[in-house]
C-alpha cells in the first residue's frame, strides 16, 4: 500500500484554502455588523452632515468629520479585532472543536494562518468598502482631501495590524474564550493603571511624591498610547494650526491635513506583526488538551500567577486602603498600612490565580511558599521607599542642570537666580519633612488655590492659624528629562511675613519679576481692534456692580495694568489672606476677552483669548484709570466691613487672578 500523495503541495494548499474559505463564511454576521457600523458612522453620517450643512460650510463639516475618524477607528478597531479573534480562534476553546481542527490533515502553522488570514481579510475588506464609500461621498460633494481619507485608511490598517495581532497573541495564551477579551482588555490598559495605582499608593507615604505619573509606561498600554498620539490637525502654510472653524474660507485652500502619530502607529503595527509571529509559534507548540484552561501555555502560567498577585496587590490593596483607612495614618504607620493592604490584595491575587489555573478551590496546600515570596517582595518594595533607599525623597537637581521650573499657577521660571532660589527652597522643604509630612491636617485642602487656615476654621484666623499651600515643582532638566515633586507647606501668618521662611521664599518666587512678566502675556495682542469684550466687576460702596468698557478703554486699561505689572504692583499671588492682603486687594476683577479677526467679509472667524486680573490699591496707574472712569471698588477689608462678614469666611478673591 502506498502512502504517496500525488501533487502533495497543491493538495496541502487546497486544505488550507478550504479552511480559510470556511472561516471567511462562517462568521459573516460579525463582518456584516462591522460593515454596518462603519457604513453608518462613515459614508452615511458624512452624507447626512454634508446635506445638513449650509452652503459654503460643507468643507468645514467634512474636515471636522475627518478629524473624528482616527479616534473613532481606534476604538472600533480595538473592539472588533478582539471580537474577530474570538470568532476565528473559537475552535481552540472547546475540546471537540480543537480535536476536529487538529485531526485535519494540515500542519498547525498553516491551520493558524488560515484562521488568522480569514479574520484579517475581513477586517481589511470591510474597511476598504467603508473608506471607499466615504471617499465617494466626499468626491460627490466636491469637498476634496481624498488623500487625507487614504491616510486615515492607512493609519487604520496599522491599528488593525497591531490590535488584531495582539488579540491573536492573547488568543493563543488562553484556552478559554471568556478569558480572551479579559486578557486583551486588561493588557491594553494595565501599564497605565499600574502606574497610576502604584503612584497613588506611594504618594501616601513617600514625601514629595506627585499625585500624577509621568506616563513612562504608557507605551505598554497600547490603546492609551495610540489614543494619546494618533490623530490629525489642520495646519496653514505657516505651520500654525487651530480648530477647523477658526479658519476663514479664504484660508481653507491653504490648509494642510497633518497626521500625528503615524510613527507611533507604525511601531505598534510592527509590534503587531511580532505578536502574530509569536502567536503562530506558540500555537504550533500549544497542547490541544489545554482547551478550556485559563492559561493554555505552560510558560505563561508563572507570568499569569505573578501578574495576578502584584496586580491585585495594587488594585485590591488600594481599595482596601481607601475603605479601611479613611482617617489616613501618618509616618511609618502609613507605610505599614499600605504594605498590609497590598499583602492582603496579593493574597487574593495569588490564590485566585491558582484557583483559575487549577480549576479548583483546593489550592492552599503547598502553595504558601510562593505567597510568602510575594509578601517579601511587597515588604522590600514598601520598605525601600519608606526608608528612601533609592534617594527619591532627598533628590534635588543641581540648579545648573535645570532648564526651567514650573511652580504653582503655571509660574514658569527660567532665570538662573530664580532656579537657584527654587532649588534652595526645595532643599529646605526636604529638611522640614517632619513638619510638612502630616497628611491628616492637609487632607481635603490639597490643591485648593484658596488659602484657608487649617486650625479652627470659622473661628477667625488668629495669630496661631495655620495656612497651607500645595506646591508642585516641575523641573525641566537640560537633558530633556523632567522631575516633579509635590509638597504641602504649612505656615502661620507670622512665618509667612518673616524673610527666609519657606512660605516667604515661595511668595517671593511666585511674585518675582520674571513670573509677573509672564502673567502679562496674552494669547492675542491687546488693542482696540482685538478687544471683543471688557468689563470690570466688583463691590462698590453701592454694592456689586459691573462696568463695561469700550475696546479703546480696554486698551488703555491694559496699558495701565502692564505698567503696574512692570512695577510689580499688580498680578501678584497672595499665599496668605493677611490683613495686608485684605487692605491692598480690591474686591473686584478685570476681564478682557480678545479676538483676532479673520477677514472683513467673514466676520465670524476669529481666534480668541482672555486676560484678567484683580486690581489692587498699589497698582496706581490701574487705580487711577478706574477712578477716572467712575469705577471705585472697595478693598476686601472694606467689603468685609460693609457686609459685616466674619473674618474667618474666605473672601471671594483671596488672591489676585491673572490670565
Amino acid at each position: 500500500m502506498s502512502w504517496e500523495v500525488p501533487i502533495m503541495r497543491s493538495r496541502t494548499s487546497s486544505c488550507e484554502k478550504t479552511i480559510f474559505l470556511k472561516e471567511l463564511t462562517r462568521f459573516w454576521p460579525l463582518w456584516a455588523a462591522y460593515l454596518a457600523v462603519l457604513l453608518l458612522t462613515m459614508p452615511v453620517a458624512l452624507q447626512g452632515t454634508l446635506d445638513a450643512s449650509r452652503p459654503g460650510r460643507e468643507v468645514y463639516a467634512y474636515l471636522q468629520s475627518l478629524q473624528t475618524l482616527p479616534m473613532m477607528h481606534l476604538i472600533i478597531t480595538a473592539i472588533v479585532s478582539c471580537l474577530t479573534a474570538m470568532a476565528v480562534y473559537s475552535f481552540m476553546y472547546n475540546a471537540r472543536s480543537v480535536s476536529f481542527a487538529a485531526s485535519l490533515p494540515v500542519r498547525r502553522g498553516p491551520t493558524f494562518l488560515a484562521h488568522f488570514l480569514a479574520g484579517f481579510c475581513w477586517l481589511i475588506c470591510v474597511n476598504v468598502i467603508a473608506f471607499g464609500l466615504y471617499a465617494a461621498v466626499a468626491a460627490a460633494h466636491g469637498v476634496g482631501y481624498i488623500d487625507a481619507v487614504l491616510c486615515i485608511f492607512l493609519m487604520n490598517l496599522l491599528f488593525i495590524l497591531f490590535f488584531y495581532g495582539f488579540a491573536s497573541f492573547c488568543a493563543v495564551l488562553t484556552g478559554n474564550i471568556i478569558v480572551l477579551p479579559l486578557v486583551y482588555g486588561v493588557l491594553n490598559f494595565t501599564a497605565v493603571v499600574v502606574e497610576f495605582l502604584g503612584g497613588s499608593l506611594l504618594q501616601r507615604f513617600v514625601y514629595g511624591m506627585p499625585d500624577r505619573t509621568d506616563g513612562v509606561l504608557t507605551f505598554l498600554s497600547p490603546a492609551v498610547k495610540l489614543a494619546e498620539n494618533c490623530g490629525l490637525h489642520f495646519e496653514n502654510a505657516a505651520g500654525e494650526y487651530t480648530y477647523i472653524w477658526n479658519y476663514s474660507p479664504e484660508e481653507l485652500p491653504e490648509i494642510f491635513v497633518r497626521f500625528d502619530g503615524f510613527i507611533t502607529a507604525g511601531l505598534y503595527a510592527l509590534a503587531g506583526v511580532v505578536f502574530i509571529v509569536l502567536a503562530l509559534l506558540i500555537y504550533r507548540r500549544r497542547h490541544m488538551e489545554t482547551a478550556g484552561d485559563v492559561v493554555a501555555v505552560k510558560v505563561a502560567k508563572p507570568i499569569f500567577r505573578w501578574c495576578m498577585t502584584f496586580g491585585c496587590a495594587l488594585v485590591i490593596g488600594t481599595l482596601f486602603y481607601q475603605v479601611i483607612f479613611i482617617n489616613e495614618p501618618t509616618g511609618r504607620l502609613c507605610a505599614a498600612a499600605v504594605a498590609a493592604c497590598m499583602i492582603a490584595g496579593a493574597f487574593i491575587g495569588y490564590f485566585a490565580s491558582e484557583m483559575l489555573m487549577q480549576k479548583s478551590f483546593r489550592v492552599f496546600a503547598g502553595k504558601w511558599p510562593g505567597y510568602l515570596v510575594a509578601v517579601l517582595v511587597i515588604l522590600v518594595f514598601v520598605g525601600a521607599f519608606e526608608f528612601d533607599l533609592f534617594g527619591y525623597e532627598r533628590r534635588v537637581p543641581d540648579a545648573e542642570d535645570v532648564q526651567g521650573v514650573s511652580l504653582m499657577y503655571d509660574t514658569l521660571l527660567e532665570e538662573p537666580e530664580n532656579i537657584r532660589a527654587v532649588t534652595d527652597l526645595h532643599r529646605s522643604l526636604i529638611e522640614h519633612k517632619e513638619r510638612y509630612d502630616t497628611k491628616q491636617e492637609t487632607s481635603g485642602y490639597v490643591g485648593y488655590a484658596v488659602s484657608m487656615p487649617v486650625t479652627a476654621p470659622g473661628a477667625g484666623y488668629g495669630e496661631d492659624a495655620v495656612f497651607k499651600r500645595t506646591l508642585r515643582l516641575l523641573y525641566t532638566l537640560k537633558n530633556g528629562k523632567t522631575l516633579e515633586r509635590l509638597y504641602t507647606i504649612r505656615f502661620t501668618e507670622a512665618e509667612w511675613d518673616t524673610p527666609g521662611t519657606d512660605s516667604n521664599s515661595l511668595e517671593d518666587l511666585v511674585n518675582c519679576h520674571e513670573a509677573i512678566m509672564r502673567r502679562k502675556e496674552t494669547p492675542v495682542p491687546v488693542s482696540a481692534n482685538t478687544v471683543y469684550a471688557a468689563n470690570v466687576g466688583g463691590t462698590t460702596a453701592e454694592g456689586y456692580k459691573d462696568f463695561s468698557l469700550t475696546p479703546q478703554e480696554a486698551e488703555e486699561l491694559y496699558a495701565c495694568i502692564a505698567q503696574d505689572m512692570d512695577e510689580g504692583a499688580i498680578g501678584r499671588i497672595w499665599l496668605c489672606a493677611s490683613e495686608r492682603y485684605s487692605n491692598t486687594v480690591y474686591d473686584g476683577y478685570i476681564s478682557i476677552t480678545l479676538r483676532l479677526p479673520g477677514t472683513e467679509n467673514a466676520e465670524e472667524y476669529y481666534k480668541f483669548g482672555d486676560f484678567g486680573t484683580t486690581p489692587t490699591k498699589d497698582a496706581v496707574h490701574t487705580d487711577a484709570f478706574l477712578r477716572e472712569h467712575g469705577i471705585e471698588l472697595l478693598t476686601i477689608a472694606e467689603t468685609r466691613e460693609l457686609n459685616a462678614l466674619p473674618g474667618a469666611v474666605p473672601e471671594p478673591y483671596p488672591y489676585e487672578v491673572y490670565a
Partner: protein
C-alpha cells in the same frame, strides 16, 4: 500498520499513558478495551494527531502521526463526541471534507446516501446524537480512509444502523484492506467485528492478541465424570465450578489437546464450548488482580 511504542502522556502531573504499546497489523480490526480512565481516548487522540506524546512513538505505516498531513489525509477519525460547524448541514460538511481530504470520493458519498437517510440541508445541531454519528460515518467513509480510528463509534446508533455501519466498515476492510482501530466498552459487539484485541489499564497494555489466538488458548469444558473418576492430569484449569453432577472447567491450552485429555479418561459426558470475549477476559485476567470487573460491567 499502527504502532504505538512505549508512549507516555501526562496531564498536569497525572499519567494518562504510562509506556503504552500497541501494534495493529494492516487490514486488521483492532478492538481497544479498558476500564474508564484507562487511556483509550487519549491514545486514540494521539493516533488522530491531536495530542503530542511526552515520549515514545506513535506511528502509522512507520511514519509519525503528529504534524504529518500525508498520514492524516489517509486517516479518518470519528470521536466519541462528534463535532461539526454549528450552522453547517451535511452537505456543507461534505464540501469541507472534500476540500480537506484529497481522497474524498464523491461517488461514494452519493452512494452512501442510500444507507444514511439524513436530511443533508438540515443544520447538524438540529440532528439527534445518533444522526450526527451517522453523518460522521457517512463523511468518514467517503474519504475512503486507509486507517479508520473509531472512539466508541456506535454509541447512540440503533441496532439496525449499528449493523449497517459495521457492515460498511468490514466491507472496506475486506475490499480495500482498511486498518481499523476501535475502542469500546462493549466486548460483545467487538467480538463480532474484531480480529485483534488489546486491553489497556492505567495507561499500560495488559494484553494484546488476535481473537482466534485468544479463543484457541482457552476452552470451556462441561463434563460429567463416572463415580470415583478423577480429572485427567496435566490440565491447566483456570476455574472450576459444579452444578449437580455437571462440572464446568475453564482450561488454558489448545482446544484439541484439552479435548484429547478429557476424552482419554472416558467421562459419562463432555462438551467443549467456545468462550465469549467477555469470558476470556474474565478468566485470563481475573487472577492477575486487574480491574477486570470494571471492563466487563
Amino acid at each position: 500498520m499502527i504502532e504505538v511504542k512505549n508512549v507516555v502522556k501526562k496531564f498536569d502531573g497525572f499519567t494518562a499513558l504510562d509506556g503504552l504499546d500497541i501494534t495493529v497489523p494492516t487490514g486488521a480490526i483492532y478492538g481497544l478495551v479498558g476500564p474508564n480512565g484507562a487511556g483509550k481516548s487519549t491514545i486514540i487522540r494521539h493516533l488522530a494527531g491531536i495530542y503530542r506524546q511526552d515520549s515514545g512513538e506513535v506511528l502509522i505505516d512507520g511514519q509519525k502521526v503528529y504534524e504529518n498531513p500525508a498520514i492524516k489525509r489517509r486517516t479518518a477519525y470519528i470521536p466519541d463526541d462528534t463535532y461539526f460547524f454549528t450552522q453547517a448541514g451535511i452537505r456543507d460538511m461534505m464540501k469541507y471534507y472534500r476540500g480537506v481530504y484529497p481522497s474524498f470520493d464523491q461517488s461514494r458519498f452519493e452512494a452512501l446516501r442510500e444507507v444514511f437517510h439524513l436530511d443533508e440541508k438540515r443544520p447538524m445541531r438540529k440532528l439527534s446524537k445518533g444522526m450526527q454519528k451517522q453523518a460522521a460515518f457517512w463523511l468518514a467513509l467517503s474519504i475512503r480512509p486507509e486507517v479508520l480510528i473509531l472512539d466508541e463509534p456506535v454509541d447512540g446508533l440503533d441496532p439496525v444502523m449499528r449493523r449497517q455501519v459495521w457492515s460498511l466498515v468490514m466491507g472496506d476492510v475486506e475490499e480495500h484492506g482498511t486498518t481499523v482501530l476501535v475502542s469500546s466498552h462493549n466486548l460483545r459487539e467487538l467480538e463480532d467485528v474484531c480480529d485483534h484485541v488489546g486491553i489497556i489499564h492505567e495507561g499500560k497494555t495488559m494484553l494484546e492478541r488476535s481473537l482466534s489466538e485468544l479463543q484457541e488458548n482457552v476452552s470451556k469444558v462441561q463434563l460429567v465424570l463416572n463415580d470415583g473418576q478423577a480429572l485427567p492430569e496435566g490440565l491447566n484449569i483456570l476455574h472450576s465450578s459444579t452444578s449437580g453432577r455437571i462440572r464446568t472447567l475453564i482450561v488454558r491450552g489448545k482446544a484439541e489437546e484439552t479435548e484429547a485429555r478429557i476424552a482419554g479418561i472416558g467421562p459419562l459426558f463432555y462438551d467443549l464450548i467456545p468462550l465469549t470475549l467477555e469470558e476470556i477476559f474474565i478468566y485470563e485476567l481475573g487472577g492477575a488482580d486487574y480491574a477486570v470487573k470494571d471492563i466487563i460491567l
